[in-house]
């Protein structure tokens, strides 16, 4: 098994699988969030379910966190190895001549998204843990909508969210289709996968941006 993880191809597959898992999670996350714009009651209902369902909380959530960690740790490990593979750099390197900026800078977009995840965890996950387990508050199936909208009141937070989602879009733009190549899929469906990737990489982050902006400009009046 250790041999497996040492192999460059196996590591790539781990990156691809964890990435695809996160892509899938992102779609699910988006589906729930968009209800906060169109149907706040549904949003509360689904959020409550996610927050208190045992399967979600104690099985799926750890898997998700593990997925994020694996994707991140492996990404960093690969970056370090790749850096070592060219110890002496070129004086002149025209990377733009043969590859897109996005594909060459996954580490930058990835790290920005990671930094954003820190904020996001602080905003929601830490808050949830505090609410449920430390403060020991009682269940309140109607609190989620308010809490969410309030978060987008400050301009700085909304702006950070928007910027982060732009970078997430760039990360997805290369990463989604790339994960198929890493797992050995390159065939007649590849053009379709690439098109879908581009649509996905634009629609989902744009949707999140829309939600953030919507709540920012439509605050709850007390």
């Amino acid at each position: 098994m250790s041999g497996l993880i040492k192999s460059s191809i196996a590591r790539k597959v781990v990156m691809a699988l964890s990435g695809l898992f996160l892509v899938f999670f992102l779609a699910q996350h988006f589906t729930i969030n968009i209800t906060s714009v169109v149907a706040p009651d549904t949003f509360n209902e689904w959020s409550h379910f996610m927050g208190y369902n045992g399967l979600v909380q104690f099985i799926l959530q750890p898997i998700l966190i593990a997925g994020v960690i694996v994707h991140f740790v492996m990404g960093i490990a690969l970056e370090i190895k790749n850096n070592k593979a060219r110890a002496i750099k070129y004086k002149k390197y025209n990377g733009a001549a043969n590859a897109s900026w996005v594909s060459r800078n996954m580490i930058i977009t990835g790290l920005v998204v990671l930094a954003f995840l820190g904020l996001h965890f602080y905003d929601f996950w830490v808050h949830e843990i505090d609410y449920k387990y430390i403060a020991g508050n009682a269940e309140d199936p109607t609190r989620y909508y308010h809490e969410t909208v309030e978060k987008f009141e400050p301009f700085w937070r909304t702006a950070l969210y928007v910027v982060s989602f732009v970078l997430l879009s760039l990360h997805l733009w290369h990463g989604f289709a790339s994960s198929f190549q890493s797992m050995g899929v390159n065939n007649k469906y590849t053009p379709a996968i690439q098109t879908f990737t581009k649509i996905y990489a634009i629609v989902i982050p744009l949707g999140f941006i829309f939600i953030a902006l919507y709540h920012h400009f439509n605050p709850i009046t007390h």
């Binding site: 497996l4 040492k6 192999s7 460059s8 191809i9 196996a10 590591r11 790539k12 597959v13 690969l78 190895k81 790749n82 070592k84 593979a85 060219r86 110890a87 002496i88 750099k89 070129y90 004086k91 002149k92 390197y93 025209n94 990377g95 001549a97 043969n98 590859a99 897109s100 594909s103 060459r104 996954m106 290369h174 790339s178 190549q181 890493s182 797992m183 050995g184 899929v185 390159n186």
Partner: protein, 248 residues
């Protein structure tokens, strides 16, 4: 035309190198890039200086000996050519051209622009062959029909000249395009299937040992490859490797 050249000079593997400026006049568009360097070297020799060392041999784009990172791209700005077939008509009077060796930790510099690409040989030694003896009585060549499509794909993979442009272009100095072309060439033929499992495992292991980087699917290798080797080969090798690993 007149050119400003910035060329990497390095005495030997242990010395520290640097870019040195040269001005070269009288360059013609019909010259190949290497013939332009020949002219520079003739000048240097006549002035009692040591000529610039660079790898080259067939000068018709097939041996894979010539290399050179030219203005930040392996084999220069033209597509589907090696440096020996890059012609000076691709440049303009007064251009500045930066010439560096292919850079990768697995390709250490020997002198000036000459690098050691023996890592590629070792990858092939690890499994890039079909174990058949020279007996003179193997089965008739037409005994196993091979689908034309597969034979052609195998051929296209096998046209890799092992120049190392893929490694030089890749931001990670990854040798995946090279290795996958070698794996694919055999994987696509019935003769090559027998040892397919061991071959891909051994060759990938050697590739990793040599210190090449990982593939991040930027596609730079495919763009810069003078023979147009396709990324499909990398996907095929990934598949082969996964299936070999699950087989155990």
């Amino acid at each position: 035309m007149k050119l400003n050249l910035k060329i990497w000079r390095q005495k030997d593997a242990n010395s520290k190198g640097e870019l040195v400026d040269y001005t070269l006049d009288g360059v013609e568009g019909d010259m190949s890039f290497l013939e332009m360097l020949d002219v520079l070297n003739e000048d240097l020799i006549n002035n009692g200086k040591e000529p610039v060392h660079f790898d080259h041999d067939c000068r018709e784009g097939i041996c894979g000996t010539c290399s050179l990172q030219i203005n930040g791209e392996p084999h220069g700005p033209d597509r589907l050519v090696t440096t020996c077939q890059l012609h000076m008509r691709k440049f303009k009077d007064g251009d500045t051209i930066v010439i560096e060796p292919f850079r990768a930790t697995a390709f250490p510099v020997i002198k000036d622009l000459v690098v050691d690409r023996s890592a590629f040989d070792r990858i092939q030694q690890a499994g890039g062959y079909i174990s058949v003896n020279t007996s003179g009585n193997t089965v008739d060549a037409n005994a196993i029909p091979i689908n034309k499509h597969d034979a052609d794909d195998s051929f296209y993979a096998a046209t890799c000249i092992g120049c190392g442009a893929c490694v030089a272009a890749c931001k990670n100095a990854s040798a995946m395009l090279f290795t996958s072309a070698k794996v694919s060439q055999f994987a696509l033929l019935p003769q090559g299937r027998v040892e397919a499992t061991e071959r891909v495992q051994n060759m990938v292991r050697q590739m990793d040992l040599e210190g090449f980087g990982n593939c991040t699917n930027t596609g730079a290798c495919e763009v810069e490859c003078p023979k147009g080797i396709s990324l499909e080969n990398i996907a095929r090798m990934n598949r082969e490797y996964l299936s070999a690993t699950t087989k155990g």
